[in-house]
Structure formats: structure tokens, C-alpha cells
């Protein structure tokens, strides 16, 4: 009876761990999506009104970026936007490629004339859009595989236990 109960517990835990791992994988898509939206708004503000970065950071209100600490980190270091960007970027669960693109954008943030700053934002936005589309295509089967793998591991452990 105890063994059966233990086996059930192992299977349940494995299923929950698989679910959590799949969800973490989904966070990457959410982060890319939110960052893509933010860059689009930043690009529009710079183009339309030459709004200073610190004002853009202060006015931004994306819930996800706020909750992840990305926006608070940007606002906290608005006097040095490049350092603030590097710090804020670490708060997001991005794939290596998207992270590298965003980090490169941040290294010249606020140091470029209008046309070049706009072009840099547009380039990052396109890169993030590609990353987002690619993730959106790959994500559901990947999440399914992760959940299945965790569940199988749990079942195997339960069988061994019994």
C-alpha cells in the first residue's frame, strides 16, 4: 500500500515538474513577444517625438516586463541607458540568439543620432519578430515532449519503486 502510494506520488510530482518545465519554455516566447512590443513602441516614440529614453522608460507599462523586473531595472538606471539595458536584459528568459541581438542594441543605446538609433531599433524588432515566429512554431510540440518525458520518467521511477 505504501509502495503504491509512493509510486502515485512520484508520478504526480513528475507530471507537475514536466508541466512547470514546459511552462518555463513558454516564458521565452512571452519574453520575446513583450520585448518585441516594447522595441516597437520605443521606435515610434523616438521617430515621432524624439522622446528621451528615460521618459520612454518611465511611461512604458507592459505588465509582463514590469513583473519580470525589466522595466524597474531600466527606470532605476535611466541616467546610463546602456548599463540599465544590460541589467534589465538579464531579467528576461531569452534564447541566446535573441539575447545577443538585444545586448548589441543596448551597447549603443542613446549614443546614436536619430536615423541610426531608429534603424538599430527596427533591426532588433525584426530579429525579435523572427525569433518569436520561430519559437511560436516550435513551442507546442516541444512543450508536449517535455511533459511526456517528465511523465515517462515518473512512470519508470514508479515501476522501479513497485
Amino acid at each position: 500500500m505504501t509502495k503504491l502510494f509512493g509510486a502515485c506520488l512520484v508520478v504526480t510530482c513528475a507530471w507537475a515538474a514536466g508541466f512547470a518545465a514546459a511552462r518555463t519554455e513558454g516564458e521565452k516566447l512571452r519574453a520575446v513577444n513583450a520585448l518585441h512590443g516594447f522595441i516597437g513602441r520605443l521606435e515610434r516614440e523616438i521617430s515621432a517625438a524624439r522622446t528621451p529614453l528615460k521618459d520612454i522608460f518611465a511611461a512604458e507599462s507592459d505588465e509582463y516586463l514590469e513583473a519580470r523586473g525589466f522595466l524597474p531595472a531600466l527606470r532605476a538606471g535611466a541616467e546610463d541607458p546602456r548599463a540599465a539595458w544590460a541589467n534589465a536584459l538579464r531579467k528576461l528568459p531569452l534564447e541566446a540568439g535573441a539575447y545577443a541581438e538585444a545586448a548589441a542594441f543596448g551597447s549603443t543605446l542613446g549614443l546614436l543620432p536619430l536615423a541610426e538609433q531608429r534603424a538599430a531599433a527596427a533591426s532588433l524588432r525584426e530579429a525579435l519578430a523572427e525569433e518569436r515566429d520561430s519559437l511560436a512554431k516550435k513551442l507546442p510540440p516541444k512543450q508536449k515532449s517535455i511533459r511526456a518525458a517528465y511523465l515517462l520518467c515518473g512512470l519508470l521511477a514508479a515501476i522501479i519503486l513497485i
Binding site: I46, R50, P52, L53, K54, A78, E79, D80, L111, L114
Partner: protein, 298 residues
């Protein structure tokens, strides 16, 4: 405190700010300029003298002076632009960056030319941060002259750094507030936001900033019906606007670089201006001496 570091320290990279903060207090209190030159030297201008300093803030010869690095110059530029270079691109193309509290930082470096005009700088080599002071009675001698005669055009002449802008700032205050003469409707055409920095907003004072001088003088003449218009660093190119102002009865009080009237008259545009009778007086400024106010004989 009211010293140069309190006003401008936040624009300096930490290493340079720390060194400047260690400068002898008598230098800090009287300094009116901080200059940074990439890989060359950091210095302050104090009572007309250039003082280079080392990493400990001690006055030092050029070979031991603190040398701002490329990244420090970039950091300084970023701080001056509030972290967003694109917000001051147009001014930067003219060689300066306006500061939020008024005033400006002069910059120079590798210029980028587009369509035959300077579009900006790809690299900044030097930054000149000037500290502005308000000395209420700097132009009091001019008020005494006007009290005896009447309000008329004055050309303020001095070499760079001898107090032209401080003199104009004082004149604007004294005129607008009627100190020494009856209050006068005073307009300031302040293209680079230099005269209006730390100028108390009181009396009959109208300030137009950010507009090129010639256009500003015309706008003020047409719209504000001033009795006196003040502007800094006038050149011969502004002569048409000045004449228009004169025809409306406004007295022009302007400044020009030079050692004296003869220096100014050597420039063709200025000769034309002076010949028009726009300036009846000259006020020649020299560091440490009272202004020399004379009839302007062309």
C-alpha cells in the same frame, strides 16, 4: 555651495569628477569652466588662467595631467544628452549641447558632413562645460551712462572669457527692473540659452531662446514691442535684422569678440552694422578692469 562642481559635476565621468572635487577650494570657488580633451588633459579655467589637474586634483603640468579616455568622453557626452543623443542632434551639429538647467556645453571632434553641412560628430574629442554666474551690478556703469543721456544701442566688446555674457545678463536685469533708470521693456534673443541662464525672471523681461539671433531679433521686434533687445555674439550676418529693430525704436545691446572697436570694425559685416548707427556706444571689457564705455566712432 554654488561652485562649478555643484552645477556641472553630474555631467562628469566619476574619475574626473572625483579629481575635480579634490581641486584646491580657492580654484573651485572661482573656476568658470571645465574642459575635457580626450587623451590630452582635463583642466579648469580660473580667473582667466588654465589650470590642468592630475588624478588627485592637484594642479599639474600637461604631461602629468589627468587624461580623459575615449570611453569617458562618451560617458560625458551621454550624460550631457540625458542618455539620448538623438534629442540634441540639431544643436550638436552646431557644436553645442543645451543643458537642462540652462547654458550649454561646447563640443568638438570628428565632424560628419552631409549635404555640405555639419550633421553631427562621429567622435567627440573635447568638451567645454561653462559655469554661468549672475553678477547683478556688472552693467551698472552702463546704467549710469544711460541715466545721463538716454537708452541707446551698445556694442559690448571683449576677448573670449572676459565677461560679455555676464555683462549682458546684468544689463538685462537692470533694464527690466529699472535699476538706475526707469524700467524698460527688455527682450533677450538668446539663441544658445546662455544669457538667460541664472537670469532672475523679474521686471519687464521677455526671453526668446533657441531661435537664431537674426530671426529672434525680428520676432521680438514684431511681437513684443521691446524698448531694448539684448543678444550675444552678434556678427555682420545679422545686420538686416538689427536695422529692422532699430527702425522700430528698440535699442540693441549686443556683444562681439575683439580687443576693441577697431578689431570689430575690421570685419566687413560689422563695419556695415556700425555704419548704420545701430550702436552709439561701445563697452569694452577687460578682465579685472571696469568696463570702458565710449562713443562708437566709425
Amino acid at each position: 555651495m554654488g561652485d562649478i562642481l555643484t552645477a556641472l559635476g553630474r555631467y562628469l565621468p566619476p574619475r574626473i569628477a572625483a579629481a575635480a572635487a579634490s581641486l584646491p577650494p580657492e580654484i573651485l570657488a572661482r573656476a568658470d569652466e571645465i574642459r575635457l580633451s580626450r587623451d590630452s588633459a582635463a583642466s579648469v579655467t580660473c580667473a582667466g588662467k588654465n589650470v590642468m589637474f592630475d588624478k588627485n586634483g592637484a594642479p599639474s603640468p600637461p604631461d602629468r595631467a589627468l587624461r580623459p579616455t575615449k570611453s569617458e568622453m562618451e560617458e560625458c557626452l551621454s550624460r550631457l544628452c540625458g542618455g539620448s543623443l538623438y534629442t540634441c542632434e540639431a544643436e550638436l551639429a552646431q557644436g553645442f549641447i543645451p543643458l537642462p538647467e540652462g547654458g550649454r556645453a561646447g563640443v568638438c571632434g570628428r565632424a560628419e558632413i552631409r549635404n555640405g553641412a555639419v550633421a553631427g560628430f562621429s567622435e567627440i574629442y573635447s568638451v567645454d562645460l561653462r559655469f554661468h554666474r549672475f553678477i547683478r551690478d556688472a552693467a551698472a556703469p552702463l546704467m549710469r551712462v544711460w541715466a545721463e543721456t538716454r537708452l541707446c544701442g551698445v556694442l559690448v566688446i571683449s576677448p573670449p572669457g572676459a565677461g560679455k555674457t555676464t555683462f549682458l545678463r546684468s544689463a538685462a536685469y537692470l533694464l527690466a527692473n529699472g535699476k538706475g533708470i526707469a524700467p524698460v521693456r527688455t527682450a533677450v534673443a538668446d539663441e544658445r540659452c546662455e544669457i538667460s541662464v541664472c537670469l532672475p525672471r523679474s521686471g519687464l523681461l521677455d526671453i526668446l531662446t533657441g531661435v537664431p539671433k537674426a530671426e529672434g531679433i525680428t520676432m521680438l521686434t514684431r511681437c513684443m514691442s521691446p524698448q531694448a533687445i539684448l543678444c550675444d555674439e552678434i556678427s555682420g550676418a545679422e545686420w538686416e535684422s538689427v536695422l529692422e529693430a532699430q527702425s522700430c525704436g528698440a535699442a540693441l545691446i549686443a556683444s562681439a569678440h575683439g580687443d576693441g572697436p577697431q578689431d570689430v570694425l575690421a570685419r566687413p559685416g560689422m563695419k556695415k552694422l556700425a555704419g548704420s548707427g545701430a550702436f552709439r556706444l561701445t563697452a569694452v571689457l577687460r578682465r579685472g578692469e571696469p568696463p570702458e564705455i565710449k562713443e562708437f566712432s566709425v
